[in-house]
Symmetry: C2
Subunit: 378 residues, 2 copies
């Protein structure tokens, strides 16, 4: 699917809008991740596919431009000792002895549309980190496979929306497995468990040490997801939108304000705090719009509209994250969206159409989004 056609079709999808990275077609079967017997069947089923990642970039076929999957036969030599098939205890012992461990392999789910255990055994997809598998990397390269920078794929938009969704899950989990090598509770080594969807403290699991990760409610060993707010702040009369330029953005690009939600903060509070801190704007009403996972490394972007207090003016003397910020009319934003690049530079640049920021800005410009479209009068 070409970029423009996929954008067009996406924009026509039902309210709330369907975002890139938020269209994973797989059934994750998260409740089967502890079922070792099921995982083994899924792993070895003839229909199972493996999506290789090299340094967090997915395999893409040079010819088709789509994701490139490989088979169990391709990866088996590297996964002979994998705990999906072997006892996990052996794997843990090997980790303590500093033996080379099998590459991180993540269970992503099944594409089967069925609703029974038997049907779920087919159509499964795993992601595999081949960063350390030089020979496989070379062989794939020779057969026309490239490992494309995933962030740049979001700009070029050459893979399908469904493929973006699959990569979004896989990339975040691979990254998390790479980052959280040690147990934050005791400092000992951690390894992947439940096919890459949990990490466990090796010494504690083997009974060699006590670790707080073994006790009570713990989030040490589960994937991290960092919720962020991203907001289109409108003037009190809703006629202009606040756009800013952060230090790290490409020159000339303006976009929505955004920031991490802090512990003990609601979405609405975070929108108000970030608007105040970054641009000095007091936001009153906050309205949720939609959400988009952002796998760089594992954020969840929560898109909102915020309405500024009457008379609230921009000041950038607090947070100092923005080096420019201003309010723009619908007409100005539309002109940028429809700008003919051959005429030179537009008033400013926008983030790519695959981003929730673009969708919020576009929704403002075209008066397109009306939250009452998702009204429920119960």
């Amino acid at each position: 699917m070409s970029f423009s056609s996929s954008v067009t079709s996406l924009l026509s999808i039902s309210t709330p809008p369907a975002h890139y990275l938020a269209q994973n077609p797989l059934n994750r079967l998260s409740f089967k991740r502890e079922d070792k017997e099921f995982l083994r069947k899924a792993f070895t089923h003839p229909t199972t596919k493996f999506l290789p990642f090299y340094k967090l970039d997915p395999a893409v076929c040079k010819n088709t431009g789509e994701l490139h999957y490989i088979s169990l036969a391709d990866v088996r030599p590297y996964l002979a000792e994998h705990p999906i098939e072997k006892p996990e205890k052996d794997y843990l012992e090997a980790a303590l002895e500093n033996k080379k461990l099998a590459p991180v392999t993540i269970y992503l789910g099944t594409s089967s549309l069925g609703d029974s255990e038997k049907e779920w055994e087919a159509g499964n997809i795993f992601a595999i980190d081949i960063s350390s598998l030089d020979d496989l990397h070379k062989r794939l390269g020779e057969s026309g496979v490239v490992f494309q920078n995933f962030r740049s794929l979001l700009v070029t938009g050459t893979i399908s929306i469904e493929s973006f969704g699959i990569c979004s899950f896989a990339r975040s989990l691979l990254d998390w497995n790479n980052r959280f090598m040690y147990c934050p509770g005791c400092g000992g080594p951690q390894v992947a468990s439940l096919a890459g969807t949990k990490r466990i403290c090796v010494q504690s699991a083997l009974g060699r040490a006590d670790c707080p990760s073994k006790h009570g409610v713990n989030n040490y060993q589960y994937p991290r997801t960092d919720p962020c707010v991203i907001m289109a702040v409108l003037t009190h009369d809703k006629q202009r939108i606040l756009l800013g330029h952060g230090m790290r953005l490409p020159p000339g690009m303006l976009t929505c304000l955004a920031g991490f939600i802090e512990p003990g903060e609601s979405i609405e509070e975070a929108v108000r705090r970030e608007s105040y801190e970054e641009a000095g704007i007091t936001v009153e009403k906050v309205m949720y719009h939609s959400s988009q996972p952002w796998p760089f490394p594992q954020s969840l972007m929560i898109g909102c509209f915020g309405i500024a207090k009457e008379g609230s003016v921009i000041s950038r003397d607090k947070d100092l994250e923005l080096d420019a910020a201003d309010f723009f009319t619908r007409e100005q934003v539309r002109e940028v969206i429809n700008w003919d690049a051959s005429k030179g530079d537009a008033l400013f640049k926008l983030p790519p159409p695959t981003s929730i920021a673009y969708r919020l800005i576009r929704a403002f410009a075209y008066d397109q989004w009306d939250i009452s479209g998702s009204t429920i009068k119960i």
Copy 2:
């Protein structure tokens, strides 16, 4: 404020509803946390107050039932070596030498309504973990201070809504500081920095070791917030609500389904996945309602309504998290809400009115919530 009056007033607050734990009145000044000079002024200002926590439970005055703050004079003996006042480097060296470190002290923000640096210096609040300060704990106890289980405070509802908001932030950060003692990137010791709002890898900060936490985008050292969905799933005709009983709930209590959002998943996808996995229900339309931080330990509950596909029926054979689930009419839910306890047991019990689950259920029962109340036709 008594419990019943505070609930009543809360329920009348504007749409989207204001939740317990989501009403922190402090200006967090998150952009001042790296400004050591400002932190020092805030720390030593005569108007500054310290909120003691003992094993994550806040200090409450037995007489008033409200939070009990103490002064800098009370805590100074324990904070003589605190990095807010002393060079952080000394603190890091002490951590490597296993010297006793000052108790974790967290900057929560200012209650000052001003908008200038000078004004922010007044009215600041810090939380201090006195779990290891036996003498201070004893002295406070003798003066009529109790350390009340924070979860039970949510049921009794004796502190003000604003105090809940302050505790929600403080408790999550104290817990996080306690849990993440070691660097997940290199396994070395971590200590609190930026007045408890960041943790840093000691060896890496002192240049004694290289650690991935020093490079690129990293979330090793920032507070963790775990986003969850909690949803009122309605039948296709919106006349009945799905309520379930999880294994760990008190007997007879029914509530909304909920679950953690996974990496690479939108809010809407998580609502659909959890509804399918826990109750076998296919959810079509998903609508955001409101959000509530849940500091046990550091969750963000994202409340939604979901509309089931026509004819979708309950099955609990997948996730096995629920041991009961059924659909209930508005009349049935209202009867439970208004049940006269002297008549014996109601049809079922509901979660406490301080929870977002209760608010979602009540919104259904009284047809109270109409998302178009927060409509923005831009």
